[in-house]
Subunit: 655 residues, 3 copies
């Protein structure tokens, strides 16, 4: 495992650089990311470059045999660029340029902006590409789907629509635009959806606009990638991914990039309520699944977060070491901590780094140094891969469609995935989270939660997967819509009815209400035992056709009128089977269901894991490493007899 | 009772039309509303009309002897209209055109828009008016007071002000504009109040602006009515009313229309807390009171509501049948359900109809079919009228003035009316809710809650009504202001002091605090018994002049300093009496007070109704029908011995 | 003590003026404030003046020997001014003119506006300055820091920056603008921070912009002062101060004004929760501290507040008399009540005066009359001064910096000061709240809470103060930043480390979490006894160098990992000592700490005060008056044996 830091030399007096580098070397930092945000220092006025300072920085690290990640600084155009070319500023949903601060928001489709980007990238890459210590490039920073409404983007969106649909009439047909007289009679009428309540807009339009916005940022990243490749043919290129308001399609975003990197900020305070979902492992598995290969952490939690919000509590002892190790366990061979030292100025000054403002090594620094030592012990495991038999499908369109049209109060797309991820994790079964269109060949169990938007390819994969002996898990809200975000006029789960062997007779969006759930006499009931089971948020009332019923709505709770009706079913299909979970359950019901499914499928699992203890296995040739992580505030004893302190990672190598 | 549906043929493949019509015929649907929102299909580009599809639709229903309501489609101008004539877009309080979605918001005063309306209405009515199956026209859809700030509306408002006041000086005098140097020196300075916190604006101006906005929409509806009447002299015309943010004056709105229709969406989950007010009956009585005649439901709850908010729970069993029957019991002879089938596209796709997206008849469809059958049993009762002896006064200006200046935390105008409505309903006494200026001749008890804005006509009615032997109920906040929304400089209740026989010495807006209330030794106390009585939200400290005290503030609670002072009084006046309720009470205190009042007035009532059971009587010639409705989630036994299931309606005909 | 009222003759029919004045005379009102907001009556159209009405008003009061405060009416320009000169309207953070209502918001830097101001001030002062009854001028009304973004202010801000820094490069150096490429390359790029989330902007910029905005309003007040002084060389001038969203620097604001006046609106309902801080005394002490001399109340609570919010409960009996007396006890020799009679029109009609809308003297009027009588008893105490030995430092930059960057959830700057003020008040020790840069010579104990922004002068004062034998109290978050709002790269408390004798090893922003606190075996522990002590919001983990530990974090609560570490310390320094409070404590811990500090410093105090009873001492020559005020809803017995009713003030004169 390789440990690095994010470093902003331009923010510090140059007399500090060598001390910083020496300290890094001393504790075992192997990689430093530089250049992000430093555009104004590289190009103080248009066309005038100053790289002398960066030359010195690169030299300092090169001298110490510390590797470098070089960033394109395009996320923060200099003030002169905004002043000279105001057209590069992003236009918000209200049609006005968004307020720029120091971290200005720019329209990534704007031609002028792209020209400025190309020039600074050329200058940068041309200068440093032949330094062998440069081991990767990072493009820009934490990009989002480009929800810009500038004139250029309006035209861009229109062109995107023209390419997809050909004629306004074809749009009308796809969107079924007769509703509310929404038919377009000419291309001029086709525009990005404007502000106000976005839910009042046509969901076909908003979903397509988000697809455009995602394509737009993907195009921008590809543009930068090509700029870099003009001058450097080999060094790997990435961008640092994150979770944001307007998420692009991750799979598209990284399609042409060499690896995925992710900004990982676990909570410093875990929720105490057992039913509150948090899962750092989930996000790591989602990131690994983007390219289905190992990935990097480009920014890792190092201290209290804050700045535009009040400061959070500081990371508890063990978190800095433990969360980096957890990322490693999930496939991140390289973890860079954000940031070496806390900024002393600017809006982000309370987003704490390894070192505090005072530059005095403290508790977190010592823990980080221990991490660096620990990391060196597991060099051999670098490149080892994770091979799971269970996958959860994630779809970018699903997430956006769900967000724009809440199905029931309190019901969120990612939470539905996390419930399953949590359940399999709790029994030590590794899970991949993959693009819904990905190949399912390597898996034995595939969870496909809330496939709201139907995709023919996904459907075919799932049918074939079950035919060939796999276990599929479908849920409520699957098969609801076609790819244009229009409802399919067919009994739910529409195209999935044959696979699931059930028909949804009616549904009830109970939101914050609850109903009890009765497990039928089955393996599941055995596993679940005396714990309570609940139906929440959403209730499909199921009529099994070929499926057998696994759980029914009980006689108590919110909705007496469908007491006794099927809520969860299982259908034998081909060589495999399809489970259908028609409601949202409490966590323990998911746990026992997961155990039932792995037992029925014949996937191995553990039933001796204390709550919050996570197991991951990485393999390389004949070797394997079992990682056991205690992601709780309490010490816990595991099957080996070892007692894991809070946030402690234990690794058990095997051959 | 006649049952219909709202149908959008333009949203469905034409191959489905006949099946839909056949099904409707089969289960007994008698009326179909069409045309709403279909402008783009009637006039695909400006001046080019396409009615072939609608001809066929009309023919299909005509063939099956199903009646039609034809709508003007003006609520949703086609996209070409917005593109070609952007001036028709409404301007928001911030001075910018509001974002148009598919359901665009248009300025109803705009001349271009009116010209477009006139042409499509002419084309529509000219074509279909001689089909005898067309039994009504609906103008537009769910209109609101026209709070538009476009240049045309700014001038329109100024002209409205000029007409009302003559000179800026007269405005200054009426508004007492010296406050904060608000005096106008010329008409140019007179403009609609702009955005930000509307409460910072002069309340005289905001109230007048709302009156203008109401007049503006009334004028628009009248404009459409006249357009229709040019081509069809006889078929009744309405518009579908609703409750919205900016309510127009309902009485003005329907003055020239032939009947009232209302969009009725009862809650699918009733609040469990006894003190939470909900009342579907209240809204129905308010609608019936607009023209003091029977009315229609133009849209009736058929399924879960949702789309821009998360979906609600689906209507519980019995609701679809029961709530339509409840509307009938309150004077709606015709009830059209929204909508035949749930939309499969567009922003409203989760506002569910009788049929789900799947087009498969389900539980709600079956219940609706039962309703159709049930409705046919009570044909004879159509046209039967409701004759109540109790009226509650509603005033459009009251509601707006209350909304713009909250009197106390948690105190809302409509809630004050509902508290009384609930109380009389709970003892089986029917209530009319009527315009505050309406004649009171037919009543024996008139409730006039919070007459904040004084109207001379209302005042005279109430004095005469009491003189002639009626019982008047006045409350806190009556007589506060003149018609310009300025306070009257006189001891409260100012012009009502003589009638009430009390003077308000002081008031205390206690908001969320509470105080106990002690009933004096009186009939009321007898009725109320051991239940607790509370004063909440607002406390007038009363000094009776000629009135006798019925209740005083007790020794416990928030405001010791007026313990023992009068809170509720009764004054003999002329042949009648005037009650004055100086505070807001808990529900049971209203219930017992209502009983006391009907006993003292000699109006018959029931004291054997279980909570939530409502009784309504309709009469026609010598015949009468007593409707008993169980508006709760539990079964309840009534005086007849019958047990009513949740939402069950029983009708007891008499001769 | 002198009692007055705020009166708006222009709002009332002139036939009422004499009755009003007679009533005032009768009950003992000595001063009347007039003219505020009356611009449109003084200058109905530009350049045309009408003072006849005001002449009569002035004459009426002059005849009755009632003094007058004359206001410049500039807060509310007439409608003609906004219409004719729209450039005088303030521009909001979104770049658009803010919506004007009747109380329009004007840009105080605008040249046209200033010209209009100058002319009306000249007309007013020239006319009335030689009437000896005019005893003071009030400039404008409740001014705020001028957060305007109009073109003139943009240039004004730029000029302010140029004057402060000289070159853009100097700004870059001060702000350390390399972060996020924020470097300015020319002055054109320097602009006020725009809207959106202000926390995303550079905190160096936002703090400087607020300083500019404060300077801008200070400049405007000085401009008006000079206008007045042209025509009246002697009559004292003030402006009425308040607490608002964008507070100017109070000390700058009043530097050239003759006295401070304050608008004092105590809560009419006190929070019941003991831990909820409220303190009217705090605000009064803060006002007295601005010029460290006695002050006026220009507007005093007279009735329920409301208008743009729901009405509050009416002032409880005793409040009108008691809160005016409390102001007197804290140095306000003159208290004017807002307002004589409640406005009957305009947006402020529910902000109640002494008389209600009805003009009928009621309970509050009678209480006010009693106050007038009571006030006459204590004429002799006018001018008596308060000499305290304890001071709390307040800094304008601290407050703004804290507000823009919340340190921890729930932690607010003023609350930190109030906690200490409350503690000393609870033991009868008077406190001055003074500018952080003020001289400390007269004090023996100085509390300097959260000195986030470091000021060299303040630092020097505190070191010298301790050296000379004073007791200093420092807290967490002191020494964090330099004057440019950038963090100091040094171990906390940075420049205060030597004084405090502690180093902060780490901090933990625990926000809403809690931790127990253990007092060490010390005087404090003795005083505190068995009460619980808690650490909340923020925890510094302290490493004492020369200080001794007074309290440590206990073994229970949120953050086990620093259990046992020092939380509060005391350091002997020079002849004095410095306490360091590294956390935020519960109220009783502050109470006992305050007692410990005064005991250790040898300042006298009382330990016999019931909760909520406040003691103040005023002295004049050999005489002194001890004021005892019961600021609770309950009667309380004090050491004299007297029982004080709720809000009762007792005065004990001594010689």
């Amino acid at each position: 495992m390789r440990i690095g830091v994010d470093y902003y030399p331009e923010q510090w007096d140059e007399t500090m650089w060598e001390q910083d580098a020496d300290r890094m070397k001393e504790i075992g930092v192997e990689i430093v990311r530089v250049g992000e945000f430093a555009w104004s220092r590289m190009e103080p006025t248009e066309g005038v470059y100053d790289f002398a300072w960066l030359d010195r920085v690169v030299q300092i690290f090169t001298d110490r045999e510390i590797d470098l990640v070089l960033c394109t600084p395009t996320c923060t155009p200099p003030q002169w660029a905004f002043e000279k070319y105001p057209e590069i500023i992003q236009v918000g949903a209200d049609g006005a340029k968004i307020p720029i601060g120091i971290r200005g928001h720019r329209c990534v489709t704007n031609a002028t902006y792209r020209r400025l980007c190309e020039k600074i990238i050329q200058a940068l890459v041309e200068r440093y590409h032949d330094n062998p210590r440069i081991i990767a490039y990072q493009i820009d920073n934490e990009v989002e789907a480009n929800h810009c409404r500038c004139e250029e983007c309006t035209q861009g969106f229109r062109a995107w629509m023209q390419k997809k649909y050909g004629t306004p009439q074809a749009v009308n047909a796809a969107y079924r635009n007769t509703v509310w007289s929404g038919e377009y009679s000419s291309w001029e009428e086709v525009k990005p959806p404007t502000a106000g309540v976005l839910q009042w807009q046509n969901p076909s339009l908003t979903l397509d606009y988000n697809r455009y916005a995602s394509d737009s940022i993907v195009d921008y990243i590809e543009f930068q990638r090509q700029c870099i490749r003009k001058w450097d043919a080999t060094v790997p290129i990435t961008t640092n991914n994150w979770f944001c308001e307007n998420m692009p399609d991750f799979y598209d975003l990284f399609e042409h990039l060499d690896f995925v990197s992710y900004d990982n900020y676990p909570l410093s305070v875990l929720p105490e309520d057992e039913e509150s979902l948090y899962s750092h492992a989930f996000h790591l598995d989602l990131m690994r699944g983007i390219k289905q290969q190992n990935f990097w952490i480009m920014e890792q939690l190092s201290g209290a977060m804050g700045s535009w919000m009040p400061m959070s509590p500081t990371p508890r002892p063990g978190m800095i070491r433990g969360y980096a190790a957890q990322a490693f366990a999930h496939g991140a061979d390289t973890v860079l901590h954000f940031r070496w030292r806390t900024a002393c100025s600017g809006a982000e000054m309370y987003w704490h780094g390894i070192l505090d403002h005072n530059n005095v090594p403290g508790r977190r620094y010592r823990e980080f140094a221990e991490l660096c030592s620990w990391a060196k012990k597991w060099k051999e495991a670098e490149g080892a891969v994770i091979q799971n038999e269970v996958a959860i499908l994630y779809g970018s369109a699903q997430e956006y469609a769900f967000k724009l049209q809440h199905q029931a109060e309190g019901m969120y797309y990612l939470e539905q995935l996390k419930l399953f991820h949590d359940a399999f994790t709790s029994i030590g079964v590794g899970v991949d989270i993959i693009n819904e269109t990905a190949s399912l060949e390597q898996y034995r169990i595939v969870i496909a939660p809330t496939l709201l938007i139907t995709n023919e390819e996904v459907k075919d994969h799932l049918y074939h997967f079950a035919e060939d002996g796999g276990s599929v898990v479908l849920t409520n809200r699957c098969g609801v819509k076609d790819s244009y975000n229009c409802c399919i006029m067919q009994a739910l789960p529409t195209v999935y009815e044959e696979l699931a062997g059930v028909r949804v007779e009616e549904y009830d969006a109970i939101g914050s209400h609850e109903h009890d759930l009765q497990l039928c006499d089955s393996a599941w009931k055995q596993v679940h035992g005396e714990q309570s089971a609940k139906a929440m948020q959403w209730c499909d009332i199921l009529a099994p056709t070929t499926a057998k019923t696994m759980a029914v709505y009980g006689p108590k709770g919110f909705s007496l009128f469908y007491g006794g009706r099927a809520a969860v079913t299982c259908n034998e299909y081909g060589e495999g089977r399809a489970y259908y979970v028609g409601t949202v359950m409490n966590r323990s019901a998911y746990h026992s269901l997961a155990q039932t499914i792995v037992e029925e499928t014949g996937v191995s699992y553990r039933n001796d894991l204390p709550p919050g203890v996570e197991v991951t296995v990485r393999k390389k040739g004949q070797k394997s490493w079992t990682f056991v992580f205690n992601n709780t505030m309490h010490s816990q004893k595991i099957w080996t007899g070892d007692v894991l302190q809070p946030f402690e990672m234990q690794v058990y190598p095997e051959k």
